[in-house]
């Protein structure tokens, strides 16, 4: 990109986010107060955690469209189990096990049955939502029962004046960074995302690695779900069929993790989260209508994908037929 100097997408987005911050700080009274900034980070920390989950999958050249649906249903199930009188740890264990199981099934479909990730997870999202609505609960919103109140601290508590979700976001980011940087499986994941055939030839267990990335994303997704439920004391399962998962993709793609896999890291997720957080917060303060917000987000996502395509053109040699 000669016109832009040597800036990477990540740096451009960072500059954009800071610039937007500055504009909002000047134009919107009350934007740059400690309270609002903390609020801003707190409100996007869930999005950021989901972004880490999605980022790990995208780095491995996959995509997980069932992330939000799975999060909503497994956490809602946990809540309804607690409401039914089950001890808290046991309920959480069952919800987590369900989440991990679906993640593994996703991975199996992608790695072993070789269904394109986008389809497997799209269909799985629909399936999981239908499963929850049909078998598990009748109402859209499942409320946090009194027995689950110890969980509330995760979403609403503060530690040294800083909300707990921010710590959790930081923790997930750190864990993700360490995993990608130092764990053998993390390096395998990047190798598989970069060039799966080459990874397979060099002896990387590609299929188990792919399964692992979906299991990881369902694990992190469950954590994000618990935080969501704790901060609003309920879980709205309609989020499963909303466009929330595209916000998550927006964070990842905007941050500069190429959809063709193998590129980017946790830092990109943080930058992407920052920009989206600032944007959403600003739009909310400006009281822009929800549907218009959707159009704006869509337009930004589209622009991000166009830029992504121009910066990381699809490699016609390694792109497979039917890679849509």
């Amino acid at each position: 990109m000669p016109g832009m100097g040597r800036l990477s997408q990540e740096q451009i987005v960072f500059v954009l986010a800071v610039g937007l911050c500055a504009v909002f700080a000047v134009a919107l009274p009350g934007f740059l107060t400690t309270n609002n900034v903390l609020n801003l980070v707190r409100s996007v920390s869930i999005l950021g955690i989901l972004g880490v989950a999605m980022g790990l999958v995208v780095i491995g050249r996959g995509i997980d469209l069932s992330l939000v649906a799975l999060m909503a249903i497994s956490v809602a199930w946990t809540l309804s189990l607690i409401a039914g009188g089950m001890p808290l740890p046991q309920a959480i264990a069952i919800g987590l096990a369900f989440s991990l199981f679906i993640g593994a099934v996703n991975g199996w479909f992608v790695a072993y049955v070789e269904i394109p990730a986008i389809f497997a997870t799209l269909a799985m999202g629909t399936l999981v939502y239908g499963f929850g609505r049909y078998f598990l609960f009748d109402l859209d919103v499942v409320y946090m029962p009194p027995a689950g109140e110890p969980l509330l601290w995760i979403g609403q508590g503060t530690l040294m004046g800083v909300p707990v979700p921010i710590y959790l976001f930081a923790g997930v980011c750190l864990a993700g960074y360490l995993f990608l940087r130092y764990a053998k499986a993390g390096r395998y994941l990047r190798a598989v995302g970069d060039n799966m055939l080459a990874a397979r030839i060099t002896g990387v267990p590609t299929r188990p690695t792919i399964v692992l990335q979906y299991v990881l994303s369902s694990l992190i997704g469950y954590l994000a779900g618990i935080i969501t439920a704790a901060s609003v004391a309920s879980m709205n399962t309609r989020v499963a069929i909303s466009t929330y998962v595209y916000d998550v993709i927006l964070v990842v793609v905007l941050g500069g993790i190429g959809l063709s896999g193998g590129k980017g890291g946790i830092r990109n997720v943080i930058v992407g989260t920052l920009l989206i957080g600032v944007l959403l917060n600003g739009m909310t303060i400006m009281d822009i209508q929800y549907t218009v917000q959707n159009v704006i987000k869509g337009a930004i996502l589209l622009t991000a994908i166009v830029i992504d395509t121009i910066l990381n053109p699809r490699d016609e040699q390694t792109a497979q037929q039917g890679d849509i």
């Binding site: 049955v113 239908g130 049909y134 589209l302």
Partner: protein, 704 residues
């Protein structure tokens, strides 16, 4: 015959194993799984809900089906070109709200409303098309984003106009006709869907644009390399898809006259399920309007059936998700493994018991000798694979060559050669007609005539199709040898209808009657099949009486005689039933007897294997073709026999040192000229005590 042998024989005679492989080679087999699912689904819901298929129930379902099929068609067209369009649901909703707003609030006339709405849909499609086709974005994510944006626009329009729409009234019969009218007793939306499906079918299967679309979906890179405007084609499919979705929205608007926030939500998942369930491949190249229709019917029955049973929304999305996953899984695995599976099941051996092989030693007429030792080589290393050899009245030699030429060696010393004609294919058996033109069976092409001035004319390359054969057997695959009756009719053999020419040894593994003898009549220009189910019919030779011909069945190791004239007309008689090897060409000898080439000698192991079809099937499935047990085709001999089947003499090359590979021989002026399909030369052997002036042409056409 032992009882176990008899059981095996009947088992393979009664069960047509080979049909499975033949069915799998068919393109329409892709449709069988969707059709089976359709039948199962229809049966299930028909059984669960007693009046599911009653008239009133069906007619209300039909209108929805018409609209839904348009969406499925839209998705199919995009998918065939290798893309995907998730925005169809939103475009549908957009079409609905735009049409309603224009007709009730703006009060436009009906044609203007329809034109404007379709233009809206086409515009959404154009945006998708430019992004995916020209900018080469990922189709899935791009259309997902347009889905969100268009949905947001629809929501904004809803906020603004929904009250006005609900209050408005349309005073136009034409408008209501779309939603409630019938065309020839069929609901309008169904008629529209069927007509457009027919158009789509004709376009995809018959038109240049449709072929381009299929080519792009089949292999984008190759399509680009052959000069197809890939980007424009892809863009166009999205425009068509958007237009169809908007049209569906218009029909919906006319039928219900209302717009809600959930119009068309999740429609893309249902349409995607329909398209994939019908057998349209993700990633393109495979798809048709019929598949979209089948898929749409299945999904429509499932969704409505679940509603009728009283399953809530969650249940139907659970089911749709499962069905979509299963359909995609089957699609992916089927596409990936079809070829492997086909190559495993296509070879289907059958039971074949050969008579005891006669001895080739002692006082047997087949006793080994080395009479082929003095054979001289003509054109050594200059030709490749002269299956048949023939000489004209000027003593020039004509041989077929593997490169698709007929090569001529000039008399008298045969050191000079030229390419007589380049005809392509694999020239095999040859014969001279009365007018001196050369008739030739060309493997992979058919029956051809080469006139004396080297003009190549196709005589025939097809015969009548059998009524009940699954593979199309009208086209000639492996025309092998021919001979010409005194009245000019040409009888020729087609060795196998199940294999291409280069796979001919595989046909031996089957040892089924896959071959046939065909007659071409030059007076009428017609071709018809004379004898069917022959075991690799090969050489053909007119008998000296001109009323019958001899033919060899290679893998059955026998020579038979067929009468096409005279009192025995239409009968087949076995002349030699138990040859020690695999017979190839038969030709006349000067003393009224016949020469027969044995291309290879039977081995006890293969003879035994022929009685064990299961063994050969396992062999074909489990080990590589290079390791299969094939008939010996390296060492053979020449046999002379008479019409009663008596063996007069046998010519061997003992030890296989000089000229062991023999597929044909021709007697000409006291010499025998020997061809072999794997040889690099023509052999020439001086014969003792034969008529030195005898030629084949004179024997056939000289007397009259």
């Amino acid at each position: 015959m032992a009882a176990s042998d008899r059981i095996v024989r009947w088992r393979y005679r009664l069960v047509p194993d080979h049909l499975l492989g033949e069915i799998l080679t068919k393109r329409w087999v892709d449709n069988t799984i969707p059709v089976l699912i359709l039948i199962a689904v229809a049966a299930t819901f028909g059984w669960l809900i007693s009046d599911f298929f009653s008239m009133s129930s069906v007619s209300s379902l039909m209108r929805q089906w018409g609209e839904f099929t348009l969406i499925a068609l839209a998705l199919m067209i995009v998918m065939v070109a290798g893309g995907i369009d998730l925005s169809v649901g939103s475009t549908f909703a957009l079409g609905n709200i735009v049409a309603l707003t224009l007709i009730t609030v703006a009060g436009w006339s009906v044609p203007a409303v329809i034109a404007a709405t379709l233009a809206c849909g086409a515009f959404v499609g154009l945006v998708n098309g430019v992004l995916v086709g020209y900018l080469r974005l990922r189709a899935f994510l791009t259309t997902l984003v347009t889905l969100i944006i268009v949905r947001a626009i629809v929501d904004m329009l809803l906020l603004k106009y929904s009250v006005a729409i609900a209050a408005g009234f349309v005073d136009s019969d034409l408008w209501y006709y779309f939603g409630e009218g019938d065309v020839l007793g069929v609901p309008f939306s169904v008629a529209t869907a069927l007509v457009l499906a027919l158009v789509a079918h004709l376009a995809l299967s018959r038109s240049r644009v449709g072929w381009h679309v299929l080519a792009v979906g089949g292999s984008r890179r190759s399509a680009h390399n052959v000069g197809i405007p890939v980007r424009r084609i892809i863009c166009m499919t999205y425009v068509v898809s958007g237009t169809l979705a908007a049209l569906s929205g218009v029909l919906f608007a006319s039928r219900l006259g209302g717009a809600g926030a959930d119009t068309g939500v999740g429609l893309e998942i249902a349409a995607l399920t329909a398209a994939v369930l019908g057998g349209n491949s993700l990633g393109g190249g495979r798809g048709s309007a019929a598949k979209a229709i089948i898929g749409a019917i299945i999904v429509m029955i499932m969704v409505n059936g679940l509603v009728r049973i009283g399953v809530t929304r969650g249940g139907s999305s659970l089911l749709l998700g499962m069905v979509l996953l299963a359909a995609v899984a089957i699609d992916v695995r089927w596409l990936k493994n079809r070829h492997k599976f086909l190559s495993k099941v296509y070879v289907s051996p059958t039971y074949s018991e050969l008579p005891e092989a006669p001895a080739t030693s002692g006082s047997s007429p087949y006793a080994l000798n080395d009479r082929l030792r003095p054979v001289e080589a003509i054109g050594l290393d200059q030709i490749d694979g002269p299956e048949d050899v023939i000489l004209d009245e000027d003593d020039n030699i004509y041989v077929g060559n593997r490169t698709g030429d007929i090569v001529r060696f000039f008399a008298p010393d045969y050191t000079r050669q030229e390419v007589f004609v380049h005809c392509g294919g694999r020239p095999l058996g040859m014969a001279f007609a009365r007018d001196g033109s050369l008739i030739c069976c060309i493997g992979g092409m058919g029956l051809y005539r080469i006139t004396q001035d080297r003009r190549i004319e196709r005589l025939t390359d097809e015969t009548s199709r059998s009524w009940f054969s699954i593979i199309d057997d009208s086209r000639l695959r492996l025309a092998d040898d021919l001979d010409i009756a005194p009245d000019g009719r040409i009888f020729f053999s087609e060795a196998t209808i199940r294999y291409e020419m280069h796979e001919w040894p595989v046909d031996c593994l089957e040892s089924r009657g896959n071959g046939r003898i065909i007659c071409f009549d030059p007076r009428t220009g017609t071709t018809h099949t004379l004898l069917k189910n022959l075991v690799f019919p090969n050489g053909i030779c007119m008998t000296h009486d001109g009323q019958s011909f001899l033919f060899a069945e290679t893998w059955a190791c026998r020579v038979s005689r067929y009468w096409f004239e005279g009192p025995k007309k239409g009968t087949v008689e076995v002349v030699i039933a138990d040859l020690p090897g695999y017979p190839d060409n038969i030709n006349r000898a000067s003393d009224g007897t016949y020469w027969l080439a044995l291309v290879g000698i039977r081995t006890p192991s293969l003879d035994l294997a022929l009685k064990m079809p299961g063994f050969r099937k396992r062999m074909a499935r489990r080990i590589a073709p290079d390791e299969w047990m094939y008939p010996n085709i390296n060492t053979g001999c020449i046999v002379r026999f008479d019409e009663t089947g008596r063996i007069i003499e046998t010519l061997w090359d003992f030890g296989g040192e000089n000229h062991p590979m023999i597929t044909s021989m021709r007697e000409h002026k006291g010499h025998l000229y020997i061809g072999g399909i794997l040889n690099n030369r023509v052999g020439r052997l001086k014969l003792d005590g034969v008529d030195p002036g005898w030629t084949g042409w004179k024997s056939y056409w000289g007397q009259s």
